[in-house]
Symmetry: C2
């Protein structure tokens, strides 16, 4: 690999998931990263080489120290971001989905043919995400290949790990004329070209990967779905789309194909272990079995789902069934670019699924028993869940894994319990961009100024 | 009034509610405040005296200018804060309510007999709240009068408008021995003394007011409830408590009194136009009628309710019935000190009430039609709703009202639509403490450093 990272020793207490059951805490560790951007050693204070490693690092100016009220966490993996929608984050969420798409979202996405605008917007977004602790993102771009290449440039420049999709939407019945691939053939060709370009341009980088991206079943013709399945297989790339996002979308596939979109996607080779499907709020039990059998992942978007998902994704059930699930902000169906905010909403939504919402119903009939997840489970989804979905060795502080890390300040340290379990929960609930001190991707400090 | 504020002219574009239907926008206004901390004039660019006022203010160094991407909003009114619980914000939310209270909350509150700890904790909290744009808060203190007086000092010092309650919890059956008023008589005497002390100490301030505060019906004996009702009437002060917060609490009153706690509170003179009751998620239709008839207010705590409320408060129904309702963070049942976060969750929760949560139910049976509120309505609750509940002339940018204001930076201004409606929604959804540039209470810049 051509891009050389520099060796570092990060000294700090850290939290990391290993499973969805536990979060591990290590106090005052030395985390060693190498010139491949990987974690090569984790040294505890009790280890023999601790002092010498520390002193050597100081002498060689390789030491990154943390304050007593700072902690190291794995960087977060945002499993669903519509990059072009960032300028409208928080807008028009009072609108029904179709008006939100037609009056706001599609006109905005169409603007990305203007590459100057694309540059400005994508620069703003990528910097915002990394300063919020998101070290990897799975992006939808637009139908504009050049703008998607600019998104890749901005991710590379800021130093964020990024999976980027050339969006396909060629179905004249479900897309506006001003924002539609001019033909199925052109859409497929652009996807192939985008894959090749990214692989050529970033062959020396470990950051940027292309993704096959049918927007969602309603926006695509049968031919496009079929062609994209073949391209994904031929080039061995990840696939992303939306799946059973809402009553409308879930019903649409059934009407058009006589089956759910899970089955449609599977039929076209778009649902397998390399697939990440956003939302899934309306998945049937049989659909969930298909996700499990195919090892496909779900991007849980708890904020967005509250507006457009029509139900709460039963994340606890998915975790218990060992179905792959990570967390996505879904900018801008979700208004917040913060994975912390989405972790929090994942927790809140699971509580609301458990307890129900309507006080007029008796308590026993209001919700779904046993639906709540813990902060540990949400953290697991935001780190390991995302990494497994994307097949990257990241999301854990562990030897052999990418040094994708965030250093986070505990603002309440001075007046609170500093037991590790309490600190962990507080970090999950209280962290803003404001108290994320440093972010590293492949061991390199990202620059979000 | 002894405390003299200084005259200012704040130049900026502003948003303010007048009703729950509309948000008003005025571009580049001059907001004039006087030495009583009130807004005395609002001058539009088209007005004749605009230029002269602007030049005079510059010359007299009374001008506060805002940037093009900054907007002036009324400060928020947090209608329910347990001040002593701030150190545990975000902790143990996985626990059931009784364990959360017994293992975390009551032991923490008991610590406030240590006045040094009280000082440190309350200083941290009040600074945090004002930097989040909260210019007024309705606080529960603890049973410790001296610590409550320290809370008052800290609010006065930082410059936040505060209503502070000497908490009463005297029922041996529902309170732990280590954190209980030693007798009913002592509890009532402390309440009277606290009212008198605050009124004496802060007679020259327009910031600090005492509040009669039975913690909630389960924690209080009949005698305490009766005595507090009489004290509230005699001293003409506000009353705060919790009401129908959860299935358990709602059921408890019915078991003990044969009626709901709304009726119990009313019976004891604790539910009237001077009352603010937190939560209310389990209120019956008849209870809501009582709130309306008595002109009592509800503090909606959307984050906390997701954890402990067992249902979503139907805010739209309350607004349509003209029942007084504001928003509270409910630190630390709610983990976030930000009213923005609570505005956002109020919106999210109303969507989830409308759509329902359980995808296994048919869409038509899942939620409660017509439950969603708009960002305008949430903003109304966080400003005018709170002000009406507390009987203060604040929460609006309007002549004759307190100059309780926040200047907020729109982070996405450079890449987004700057139509006023879009800016308003973005401010509601995107503001963190980080982009609140300045906060004024009674026209005075608060110092949260």
């Amino acid at each position: 690999m051509g891009l050389i990272y520099s060796k570092k020793i990060i000294k700090g207490s850290f939290f990391t998931s290993r499973t969805d059951k536990e979060v591990y805490f290590v106090k005052d560790a030395l985390i060693e990263t190498d010139d491949n951007g990987e974690i090569t050693k984790i040294i505890n204070p009790a280890d023999q080489d601790y002092q010498r490693t520390l002193e050597d690092a100081k002498e060689n100016k390789q030491l990154v120290e943390t304050r007593d009220d700072e902690y190291v966490l794995p960087g977060f993996i945002d499993l669903h971001v519509h990059a072009p929608q960032w300028p409208q984050a928080g807008l028009a969420l009072d609108q029904p989905l179709n008006e939100w798409l037609e009056q706001y979202t599609f006109p905005l996405e169409a603007k990305y043919q203007d590459l100057e605008f694309a540059r400005k917007s994508y620069r703003h977004l990528t910097r915002n995400l990394v300063k919020n602790g998101t070290t990897t993102a799975l992006y939808f771009g637009t139908i504009h290949e050049d703008a998607n290449l600019i998104l890749a440039e901005e991710c590379q420049h800021v130093g964020q790990r990024a999976f980027i999709g050339q969006v396909v939407m060629d179905n004249p019945e479900q897309t506006p004329k001003y924002y539609r691939d001019s033909s199925t053939k052109e859409a497929l060709n652009k996807t192939i070209d985008f894959i090749k370009q990214i692989r050529t341009l970033y062959q020396d980088s470990d950051l940027i990967q292309p993704v096959v991206t049918p927007r969602f079943v309603p926006n695509c013709t049968d031919e496009a779905l079929e062609g994209l399945g073949q391209i994904a297989k031929k080039f061995d790339v990840l696939v992303q789309s939306h799946c059973s996002e809402s009553d409308w979308e879930h019903g649409y596939a059934i009407e058009r194909f006589g089956k759910t979109d899970t089955e449609v996607l599977k039929q076209y080779g778009l649902l397998n272990e390399k697939s990440v499907m956003a939302h899934g709020t309306l998945l049937t039990e049989a659909n969930m079995d298909t996700f499990k059998d195919e090892k496909a992942a779900i991007a849980h978007c708890p904020i967005s789902n509250a507006y457009f998902g029509n139900a709460v994704l039963p994340t606890r059930k998915l975790l218990e069934r060992k179905i792959k699930v990570g967390i996505g902000t879904d900018i801008s169906g979700g208004f917040s670019s913060s994975m912390y905010r989405n972790i929090q909403q994942a927790l809140i939504s699971s509580r609301m699924l458990e307890d129900g919402v309507d006080a007029q119903k008796p308590a026993a009939e209001r919700g779904v028993a046993g639906a709540r997840i813990s902060a540990k489970q949400a953290f697991y989804m935001a780190t390991i869940g995302g990494a497994e979905a994307l097949h990257i060795r990241a999301g854990q502080i562990k030897v052999g894994f990418k040094a994708d890390l965030q250093i986070v300040r505990d603002e309440l340290s001075a007046i609170s319990s500093n037991a590790s379990q309490d600190v962990f929960e507080r970090l999950m609930y209280q962290t803003n961009a404001d108290n994320i001190s440093k972010v590293f991707v492949s061991g390199k400090l990202v620059d979000h100024k």
